[in-house]
């Protein structure tokens, strides 16, 4: 059993690490810095953390101003707020100007299970991906958060990182993350499962179960949704007969849209598990929500079996 680690804590630690390397790194938050762990950067000095109050639109445009005056801002809030609430500010102040502003969407997907549909982001990947100049990351574990934060700092343009509230198993080694990096966590057999974030771990569990039944399902973590690694994904899929996509996001506009677009014209059976164009809801725990929306390891296992039957 792999060790679990918090991606939120990893985000805070990563800010401190890159903040030591680069004195221009500054973190902003809209009264959720204790939850996103962005406040951790205060270890480097009070002025390195900017409490903006509950004003996400201002936070996005402030970050643009900081980037325009030589800083490397990282702003964070829950994913619904840091993306949707500030969408036009991200579009106009940040993306049109192509600034090195880095956005963190925390408690993303269904992971804020208790707070319900207003707080569960099922659209953040879609609305960030559709913006020209934006780069979009979905880390698979805490180590990858660290590598991605450094890549975001170094990349001279806007970027978005999606962080879940829950801890996840550690499946990658510490180290640099290359934009567009594809992690083949289990080699492809007759099936290739493309997933991102927490869904990768459920896909790994499903793959293990299926191997007992004689079905070899590879598991690929796609940590960069944009720019999407089209050629690499096509190459990986060409070795399989069936492709299954899993994401904790609306089936419209997320990982699945990117994978299916990349695989256009290939002779493959394809299935896609995601949230079927609906909002979430409150639940007593995270797992029951995954069951409700058909995103558990068992669901993945069943869908792969059906696809290959």
């Amino acid at each position: 059993m792999a060790e679990f680690a918090s991606l939120r804590e990893a985000y805070g630690k990563a800010l401190v690490r890159v903040g030591k390397m680069n004195p221009n790194v500054v973190a902003l938050d809209a009264d959720l810095g204790k939850s996103t762990f962005s406040r951790t950067i205060m270890e480097l000095g009070e002025e390195r953390f900017v409490e903006v109050g509950i004003a996400e639109q201002n936070m996005a445009s402030l970050s643009a101003g900081m980037a325009l005056s030589g800083k490397v801002p990282f702003f964070s809030s829950f994913a619904v707020f840091s993306t949707g609430r500030a969408y036009d500010q991200i579009r106009s102040s940040i993306c049109i100007a192509n600034l090195n502003v880095n956005i963190c969407g925390s408690s993303a997907g269904l992971s804020d299970y208790g707070d319900g549909k207003t707080h569960q982001s099922i659209d953040d990947i879609a609305i960030m991906s559709v913006l020209p100049n934006m780069t979009v990351f979905v880390p698979v574990d805490a180590n990858q958060v660290d590598g991605m934060v450094e890549a975001m700092m170094n990349y001279q343009g806007p970027s978005y990182i999606r962080i879940p509230r829950n801890d996840l198993p550690v499946v990658t080694s510490p180290g640099a993350y290359r934009i567009g990096q594809v992690d083949v966590l289990k080699p492809v057999g007759e099936v290739a499962v493309f997933a991102c974030g927490g869904a990768v771990h459920d896909a790994l569990t499903a793959s293990e179960k299926l191997s007992d039944k004689g079905i070899r399902a590879g598991v690929i973590s796609l940590g960069t949704i944009k720019p999407f690694p089209v050629e690499e994904v096509r190459k990986i899929a060409s070795g399989a007969k069936g492709v299954v996509i899993v994401e904790e996001h609306n089936v419209i506009g997320g990982l699945g849209s990117a994978v299916k677009s990349a695989l256009a014209g290939m002779p493959l059976k394809i299935d896609h598990l995601g949230i079927e164009d609906q909002f979430g809801q409150s639940a007593e725990n995270y797992e029951v929500l995954l069951e409700t929306y058909g995103l558990t390891a068992e669901d993945i296992e069943n869908r792969i079996q059906s696809l290959m039957a």
């Binding site: 109050g53 004003a55 445009s61 970050s63 643009a64 101003g65 005056s69 500010q89 106009s92």
Partner: protein
């Protein structure tokens, strides 16, 4: 002539030249934001040709002062100042808002001297506050940041988020000009969305507020020189939409309208007469 009188004459001449530049950008029949550009001219002339530390040869000098046109549709007034200051040649004026032109319809980073993308209203003060925070709080520098907002723009809630932030963080290096020309796209500001007592509102948000006639150069200079202590400064400036273009003054239709050939010639004759008076 006193130094102050000489300065004012110098700025008056710049203002006339900049209004003439607007004519170059907006030939007869070409739709553009003449009203809100002309109401800002005297303020922008004072900033670019008296107050701000800027240099066309080093547009990205870290010691420079910053100007952000939050009411981005009035960017022709800034284009006029930038060209007069040598940031780009005046031959670009005629290509404004044409395909591949350097001068976009709203402020864009591709234009030398433009500091931020604006146009979606309400965002420029936040951008300016972000710059002001970096310069003052993080760097400990004394550069100044100037932002121009419109009175129609005051309906954008984000401005008030920025107002709180700037006062809370004591951004005394930030100055906001409110171009109070009292008209917006669909009519008088008071009818589109009544927002009374703007000066009192900015004061209540913790800003040092100075009320002036935005076409009186001495008042603009004095307001800029006023020491606001640790507060950010709001210069609430009564202006005339279409100022200097007799047919356009206080006319809603010139928020974004086109001049006829006759109106264009009238404006040119008026401005040339004014120029001769000043020389």
């Amino acid at each position: 002539m006193s130094a102050q009188e000489e300065l004012i004459l110098h700025l008056k001449k710049k203002s006339v030249l900049m209004r003439m530049d607007l004519l170059e950008m907006l030939e007869p029949g070409k739709v553009g934001h003449l009203g809100g550009s002309s109401s800002m001219i005297d303020i922008i002339a004072t900033l670019y040709f008296h107050k701000m530390n800027i240099s066309a040869s080093e547009p990205k000098n870290p010691n420079r002062d910053y100007f952000i046109m939050s009411k981005g549709h009035s960017v022709p007034a800034q284009y006029a100042a930038l060209a007069e200051a040598g940031f780009f040649p005046k031959k670009e004026f005629r290509k404004m808002k044409t395909l591949g032109g350097m001068l976009q319809g709203h402020p864009d980073m591709s234009t030398p001297g433009i500091e931020a993308v604006t146009g979606s209203l309400g965002q420029g003060l936040s951008v300016g506050a972000g710059i002001a925070y970096s310069l003052k709080i993080m760097n400990g520098w004394s550069n100044q940041v100037y932002v121009a907002c419109g009175d129609g723009e005051m309906a954008e809630g984000q401005l008030w988020e920025a107002a709180s932030f700037a006062a809370c963080y004591k951004l005394s290096n930030l100055t906001m000009f409110l171009d109070q020309n009292s008209l917006q796209a669909c009519g008088p500001c008071s009818e589109v969305m009544c927002i009374p007592d703007l000066a009192a509102k900015w004061s209540a948000f913790g800003w040092d507020v100075i009320e002036i006639d935005g076409h009186d150069l001495a008042q603009i200079i004095n307001a800029l020189n006023h020491d606001s202590g640790t507060k950010p400064k709001a210069i609430v400036s009564k202006t005339v939409k279409g100022k200097g273009f007799s047919f356009a003054e206080n006319v809603v239709g010139f928020h974004n309208g086109a001049m006829t050939r006759e109106q264009y010639e009238t404006a040119r004759n008026d401005l040339e007469s004014l120029w001769e008076e000043l020389n």
